[in-house]
């Protein structure tokens, strides 16, 4: 498949990297360590997008307070993403609805997609990393 998408002979190869976030921000380290990969990928000048599905939508919810569990609240980092030119954030509509959330509950501007649209977007990617 990738053989057909030969990059121009000159200049670096830009690939489409998608990070799929499926887990709640706390309880496991996956969300935090996913964010660390995202920030590094941004420094490689790749085409980066983030997807939030299932409990992953909780990563973007406003007003997270973690003092009680003694773990750092890293959610402000999502607001810093546009400073790294990462502006493509997609949220799964059903996942939001199932949890009684709307876009207004989220920390950052996102595009809400249904499952079909999400599938189409995923099909366009070169690299998908799921956390």
């Amino acid at each position: 498949m990738s053989e057909q998408q030969a990059a121009p002979a000159a200049g670096p190869k830009v690939k489409k990297f998608m990070f799929v976030n499926r887990k709640a921000p706390y309880g496991t380290i996956y969300a935090l360590e996913s964010l660390e990969v995202v920030l590094i990928t941004a420094t490689f000048d790749q085409d980066v997008s983030l997807v939030f599905i299932d409990d992953g939508v909780y990563e973007l919810v406003k007003g997270q307070q973690t003092k009680g569990i003694g773990i750092k609240n890293f959610s402000p980092s999502y607001r810093a993403l546009d400073g790294y030119d990462i502006e493509k954030l997609y949220v799964d509509q059903t996942s939001l609805e199932q949890r009684g959330l709307t876009e207004k509950d989220l920390l950052v501007p996102v595009e809400v997609l249904d499952a079909k649209e999400m599938g189409q977007l995923m099909a366009q990617q070169d690299v998908i990393l799921s956390f």
């Binding site: 190869k13 660390e36 990969v37 799921s130």
Partner: protein
């Protein structure tokens, strides 16, 4: 085909590391190139030479080391994830090296497929 791997779980608790190993053996046998295996999250625990499973069990860590020795496979452990979990240079099994997350991104850029083995 040029293939990169991401291993996101530690040995024994999860089968991810076993599956990754078996995938690599099969891919090499078919003549594919394994560009790199990147260990992240608890996957960094695949790299400690302090691992001592019972005699009658497979030795996940030594198996990776043998693979690196035989096929020159690049086994890279994420530095940030490793330090968090007490994995340092002095406990690394042969064939592993510690480096940054950039090595994972590099794998995504340079390979035809980046295959994740996780939970």
């Amino acid at each position: 085909m040029k293939i990169g791997l991401l291993v996101s779980e530690g040995p024994y608790t999860h089968q991810a590391s076993d599956s990754a190993y078996q995938f690599v053996v099969a891919a090499l046998a078919k003549g594919h190139e394994i560009q790199r295996i990147f260990f992240y999250h608890d996957g960094v625990n695949n790299a400690t030479r302090l691992t001592e499973p019972p005699q009658d069990d497979r030795h996940v860590v030594n198996r990776w080391s043998a693979l690196a020795a035989e096929h020159k496979v690049d086994l890279v452990v994420c530095v940030a994830a490793a330090l968090r979990r007490g994995i340092k240079e002095e406990v690394l099994a042969p064939g592993f090296r510690i480096s940054g997350l950039g090595q994972l991104v590099d794998s995504g850029i340079k390979t035809d497929r980046l295959v994740t083995f996780g939970d």
